[in-house]
């Protein structure tokens, strides 16, 4: 187990190295940042000074090595617009994103598994068909489109929930989001949950159907056990394994994928930070958020892998 943990850790670091390399080479294609920072009329000596300061006059390989070293030590550069360290801005926004993601994932897990079980138990019924069509719609609708429709329906037409305007206090605690700001949280959370609900429901359904047709379920049924006991005691426990993996990978995907939702609902998270940086051509911030998201993704997947190997003895350790 320890060897497995270490090997996985080593591999995760290799992945992060790859991610950093990809990001470096993509960002290397950008037009000259010194020009971007100074605008059209910058004089040549100022530009040269900035270029020197940013290390842009060095050869590519040396910049690459510098970039790797800096990023590894947590230095993501400074924002072109606010001149603050990018990592500080990201960490400041992280609680809002975490709250949004975790709430959405909680909702998605409960609803997704519930719908999935119902669909599987009543498979090929009208209920099953309707929920599976809705699940497919949930997968098909881009998050920003769904977000806008939700805003129109609940925010503008019915006026039940506020559609934006949430301001985060500097010293806000995590629980305060749920306690005092739930009405701001409701719409973005629901919008964000839609896709994972659909996917979890589909995975639960197919895995449940698999298990329900197995021999030991037939045995349990023939023993005269009630349907409730068969489903919840015997089938569900085995059917949930692939669901747990799905939830794990979706937690990672959501934490990094809430960007559009945050942007549309003005939720003050990491995603809004990244998207606000796009029209300002604030490349260090964009680059920093991409890198941060990828690292978080790798870390969460690492933890999920380890947990999964611990929980499920069927997983081979090599």
């Amino acid at each position: 187990m320890l060897a497995f943990t270490i090997r996985k850790l080593f591999y995760s670091i290799l992945i992060i190295f790859g991610v950093m390399s990809v990001i470096f080479f993509v960002m290397n294609l950008l037009p000259d940042p010194a020009r971007m920072m100074q605008g059209q009329r910058a004089d040549i000596s100022t530009q040269a000074a900035i270029r020197h300061e940013l290390g842009l006059d060095l050869p590519v390989w040396q910049r690459y090595v510098n970039f790797l070293g800096k990023t590894a030590s947590g230095d993501f550069g400074r924002s072109y617009t606010s001149n603050r360290p990018v990592l500080d801005s990201i960490l400041e926004r992280l609680p809002a994103t975490a709250v949004l993601t975790l709430s959405a994932m909680l909702v998605a897990t409960i609803l997704g598994i519930g719908i999935g079980i119902l669909s599987a138990v009543k498979s090929y019924s009208i209920l099953d068909n309707i929920s599976m069509v809705f699940a497919l719609i949930g997968i098909s609708v881009p998050s920003f489109v769904f977000g806008l429709l939700v805003i129109i329906l609940f925010g503008s037409l019915l006026q039940i929930f506020p559609i934006s305007g949430f301001v985060i206090q500097d010293d806000a605690k995590w629980y305060e989001f749920w306690a005092y700001h739930w009405e701001y949280l409701a719409l973005p959370m629901f919008t964000l949950a839609l896709r994972p609900i659909s996917i979890i429901a589909r995975v639960t359904r197919s895995s449940m159907l698999d298990v329900l047709s197995s021999d030991y379920i037939r045995t349990a049924k023939s023993k005269g056990l009630s349907q409730k006991v068969v489903i919840f005691r015997h089938a569900l426990r085995n059917a949930l394994n692939p669901v747990v993996t799905t939830i794990g990978s979706w937690l990672a995907a959501l934490l990094t994928g809430a960007f559009f939702i945050e942007y549309i609902f003005n939720w003050p998270g990491v995603g809004a930070l990244a998207f606000d940086a796009i029209p300002r051509s604030d490349f260090p911030t964009i680059q920093g958020t991409v890198m941060f998201s990828a690292v978080v993704f790798v870390i969460i997947n690492y933890i999920v892998d380890i947990l999964y190997a611990k929980l499920d003895p069927k997983v081979k350790l090599n």
Partner: protein, 360 residues
């Protein structure tokens, strides 16, 4: 006993049920899946709309009539077209209430109630049907007075072409990497798997955004950004297929015949992996539509004045808080949803059709 000629014997052995190809059975299974067929027909319809956008669109999608901004659905305009003072430019529309032609001069009551005169020679065209139009804006107009329906129709073209070419790029990269990894295994497989995992770890929409910012904005850049991001799924599936197909007897036979690796890979293994490739490509196509819309929603992607669905949504987005003109957001939103949903329905159906084990 007379000897039966071999030819006759062979003919006698032909089974009554003709053996058919994988395609025949897959198509038969697909035909039985009503939802998938619905998705298929809608997909075909959208493709036809994209191809014949020029014929189907009721108006010029880029014609701005600034007097007709944000008109509701079903609005009927009334315009006189005059020739543009700048040569070789489109005629200029003048919205009117009524007009009268006499003595080589046209007198118009314009939209704001004032009277305006123009010599007939300035009109675009010689007959009234050429210079007097009553455009019908079935879905209303946007904030520049452009026809929403026409922009939606032309938006389908952008959406589908970007999705098509980017998916093509993803297929080429994914199949190449997947095939090499699955066929050669060893360090080739390790490196490809590593690269796949690297691309998987970067949130796809952020990767698409980063690449298109880095490359600049435009059609080719957008195709490239989406295509580069989409290949890992394809690589994974192709790799898996090659892993198992490589062990089959007919592949062993190609080795016994001394065929080169490349020929074995592309002529013998790849055609047998085509089913899963098509399934993944369909799903990838739907995803590419979403990415294109997302990019243009953010003002990246294909640039104005070309109409794209994402950009239309962004234009309408500003009106939502004001609580009016929902159509500006809802129509393009429905277009995206319909297109992606149809592709996913079709793709799901294809997956079931190519995989007999899942036979319902």
């Amino acid at each position: 006993m007379a000897e039966i000629p071999i030819k006759q014997l062979a003919e006698a052995e032909i089974p009554t049920e003709k053996s058919r190809s994988l395609w025949y059975y897959s198509w038969k299974r697909l035909r039985r899946n009503r939802l998938a067929m619905a998705g298929f027909y809608v997909t075909i319809l959208i493709i036809l709309i994209a191809i014949f956008a020029g014929v189907l669109a009721p108006q010029d999608p880029n014609l701005q009539i600034l007097e007709y901004t944000t008109k509701p659905s079903g609005f009927k305009g009334n315009v006189i077209l005059r020739t543009n003072d700048i040569p070789n430019q489109d005629p200029v529309p003048i919205p009117i209430q009524s007009f009268l032609v006499s003595n080589g001069e046209i007198t118009m009551i314009t939209d704001d109630g004032s009277t305006r005169k123009l010599p007939v020679s300035k009109l675009a065209g010689s007959s009234e049907s050429q210079w007097h139009k009553e455009p019908h804006f079935y879905l209303g107009t946007d904030r520049y007075g452009r026809d929403i329906l026409s922009r939606l129709v032309f938006g389908a073209r952008v959406s589908l072409t970007v999705a098509f070419f980017s998916e093509l790029l993803s297929i080429v990269i994914g199949v190449l990497f997947g095939a090499l990894a699955g066929f050669y295994r060893g360090w080739v497989d390790e490196s490809v798997s590593w690269l796949t995992n690297v691309f998987w770890s970067i949130p796809p929409i952020l990767l698409v955004i980063s690449i298109s910012i880095a490359l600049g904005l435009g059609f080719v850049q957008t195709v490239f950004a989406i295509g580069i991001t989409g290949w890992p799924d394809m690589a994974r599936i192709v790799r898996g297929q090659f892993f198992s197909l490589r062990e089959t007897e007919y592949v062993e036979a190609t080795r016994a015949l001394g065929l080169g690796n490349m020929r074995t890979i592309f002529r013998h293994i790849l055609p047998n992996a085509i089913g899963p490739i098509i399934v993944i490509a369909t799903a990838g196509f739907a995803t590419a539509i979403i990415y294109e819309a997302s990019l243009s929603f953010l003002g990246l992607g294909v640039q104005p004045p070309t109409s794209t669905w994402g950009q239309m949504i962004y234009d309408g987005y500003g009106y939502i808080a004001a609580g009016s003109n929902w159509g500006l957001t809802i129509y393009p939103a429905l277009a995206i949803m319909l297109a992606v949903f149809a592709f996913n329905l079709f793709g799901d159906g294809l997956r079931d059709a190519f995989d007999p084990k899942l036979n319902r």
